[in-house]
Symmetry: C2
Subunit: 423 residues, 2 copies
């Protein structure tokens, strides 16, 4: 017959299992982040190639493709090592489903590259295609963050996801800006898109700062070299304020690309630091949980006897003014019985506290889900682009002096009463 | 090398695993509910025994104990069958930790019974002790509800948990009322407690109705026989309005106990219906997921070939006005490739929708957690009883015309700025 101690031990084993899984997921997140970084660079270079009608940047692009292929092989090796016959804790189905999507994207990648090479796609088409693949990769990271059962690990994953998402907006900004400079002509639509991308990355990076440790935040501030930032802002101004149809200095394309790339490379260093912290925290927690397990198992070796277990009905900490409920001490075994019960209560309390902390951290993920859902609703209902839907919600928030999440909640609450949109 | 299809299948297997686990958890919830029901009855009878100084109800109590021992054996058999070496999805550690606590409570149960038999405890002590054990059992049901990954199953579990919790308040009401009648004297403190229990059960039953299916709600309304209800309300009035210290008709103790028991037995019938629905829904969903899996596996047998996977970059449903991005159709294999991608997208979309629905259902569990946390804070900080803390929050809600959850949020937000309470 299984005892309370048996389940105390089983609960600790679950914690260890979950932490080990998180460590493996963190490794997957790490290589995913590197592939994202590589693809972002490949996208930027592809835009330069397309913009220059294949006249420039082909060599750099070819090198970048080789690098991406190597990281892709690493990612595939990581996926091949996953024991998919076991159901992971958390939302395993969602994680696997995201991975399935990514694998389809990777299958299509050679075709995308070929279309860039043959100059048969526009910059916009190529940018969108790369962005779709990167979005799929980031969704894997999001699910990893959403499945973490430890609040500290979850906090790091939330910080990491938002950083990666912010960096992706920066990457899209680089690609769109590259295309604009290379074509040599300002375009109001693309300029709007740039502004949207700048605002979106700032929002993500703010969430990152909210969740990052003080050390990482400092690292992040230091990594943003002021000369690079100043140059970036100057070029952003040139790009975004030129009147529609006027000329842009095509020779700035290289400068823009290099400046954006310097910033993104320094972002990658911060990202790798957070990914490293993540692995380390997982390992430390596994070690601590294993030490607890050893202590529990030592208790198993000497099962309690000679007590009637009445400590259960005593108050956890009887005080003089609040005497325990009149139990006679039973001597032998009572100390052990009481210490196991205390362990059970301590465990339950700790798990409860962790759950509460987790809820707090996850609130930011839920906010993101709600905002995305509301945006999707507006896009479908009003036939808006993602940017336009976002802009509409932001405008509502400003007009009503409310937070974006509140507007999103209101949009979703309206969903049931909305008339059918145009189809 | 694992394909997208491999992870599509793995995701479906996760879903099946999770549903099968939910089916097993539902079986555990079912026997837990029956033990709770038995212990509630045993508590009521114990109060009658204690109140009559052992003169009455000893035979009925002995019979009830035998019944409880049988159900306890069933529960232990169910726990012995659990494969605790595997980590369940969801919050496995929390579930096991709750079970460990319950097992300690069950160890202490013989000692509790002995103290009732020897009349060495007061009614209040015995009621509190039984309530502590029942609270532990209900916490197992709560964790089961909190770990469900399917929104429909989660909805049923939330309904069931709230119903069981409401029934427990009804059971405590029966016990407190029994003790009052048997002692033959009104007591202001116990009368306050009765009112609190009545209000608490109504709140839980309202949540139950919000989450129950229309059929179950109808069953519930029909089960509440109006003659029993009328008698219950009459006796509640007698109990709660008698002035402190005045006599109560001790001969009504049997009538009160029988009336409350009739109501609780009819509640048990509703509870079993919901528990049955739960098992059935799990089984139906497992069957449907298995059918999907078979269909996926048929695709595995014929892997796509001869395509470059470019459907990934097409829009999900290209329309005349929004042509796909200029891909040439590749003929052989394209249809299969596209249909797998569609399955992946359909799966991702379905899991997303389920996740959104789950968030909505779980919001009520989170509200409960927040309210309990706020109550705990007030209890610790102001040295209040659970009833008094609840009453204070309810009063704040009424005064400020806000919902209880909003007051709880405000209490928790205040936590950081509260001065240290008296120790």
């Amino acid at each position: 017959m299984k005892s309370g101690l048996h389940f105390l031990v089983a609960a600790k084993r679950c914690e260890i299992d979950e932490l080990q899984q998180l460590a493996r997921t963190s490794a997957l997140v790490n290589v995913t982040g590197r592939l994202v970084h590589g693809l972002q660079r490949e996208r930027g270079l592809s835009n330069l190639v397309l913009g220059s009608q294949g006249a420039r940047f082909t060599e750099a692009r070819a090198q970048q493709i080789t690098e991406c292929q190597q990281i892709e092989a690493e990612l595939r090796a990581c996926l091949d090592c996953m024991d998919t016959s076991a159901t992971p804790t958390g939302n395993g189905a969602r994680l696997y489903s995201r991975i399935a999507y990514v694998l389809h994207g990777l299958e299509a990648l050679p075709g995308l590259r070929q279309r860039v090479e043959s100059l048969s796609w526009t910059s916009r088409q190529a940018t969108d295609a790369y962005a779709r693949l990167v979005t799929g990769l980031l969704a894997v990271v999001f699910e990893a963050a959403d499945s973490a059962t430890d609040p500290e690990v979850s906090r790091l994953l939330v910080a990491l996801f938002n950083f990666m998402q912010g960096k992706e907006f920066a990457g899209q900004e680089r690609a769109v800006g590259s295309a604009l400079f290379v074509t040599g002509r300002a375009d109001a639509g693309e300029q709007q898109r740039l502004l949207h991308l700048i605002e979106s990355q700032e929002r993500c990076l703010q969430v990152f700062v909210d969740f990052a440790s003080a050390e990482v935040e400092t690292l992040w501030r230091q990594s943003q070299e002021s000369t690079t930032l100043a140059e970036l802002e100057r070029m952003r101004r040139i790009l975004c304020t030129a009147s529609h149809g006027t000329a842009l200095d095509a020779s700035l394309s290289q400068t823009w690309f290099d400046c954006c790339s310097r910033r993104m490379d320094s972002m990658k260093a911060v990202e790798e630091r957070v990914a490293g912290d993540l692995l380390q925290v997982c390992q430390e927690k596994v070690a601590a949980a294993n030490a607890d397990l050893t202590a529990y198992n030592a208790l198993s070796a000497a099962p309690p006897s000679g007590t009637d277990g009445m400590s259960f009905f005593e108050d956890a900490a009887p005080t003089p003014g609040n005497p325990a409920l009149g139990m006679a001490t039973q001597g032998f075994g009572l100390h052990l019985e009481r210490s196991i019960l205390e362990l059970v209560q301590e465990q339950a309390h700790r798990l409860q506290t962790m759950g509460d902390e987790l809820d707090t951290v996850r609130a930011s993920l839920n906010e993101r889900k709600v905002i995305e859902r509301a945006k999707g609703l507006l896009m479908a209902h009003r036939k808006l682009s993602e940017e336009a839907a976002h802009k509409m919600m932001r405008q509502m928030a400003m007009n009503q002096n409310r937070r974006l999440i509140e507007v999103a909640d209101a949009v979703l609450a309206m969903a049931d009463v909305l008339p059918e949109g145009p189809r």
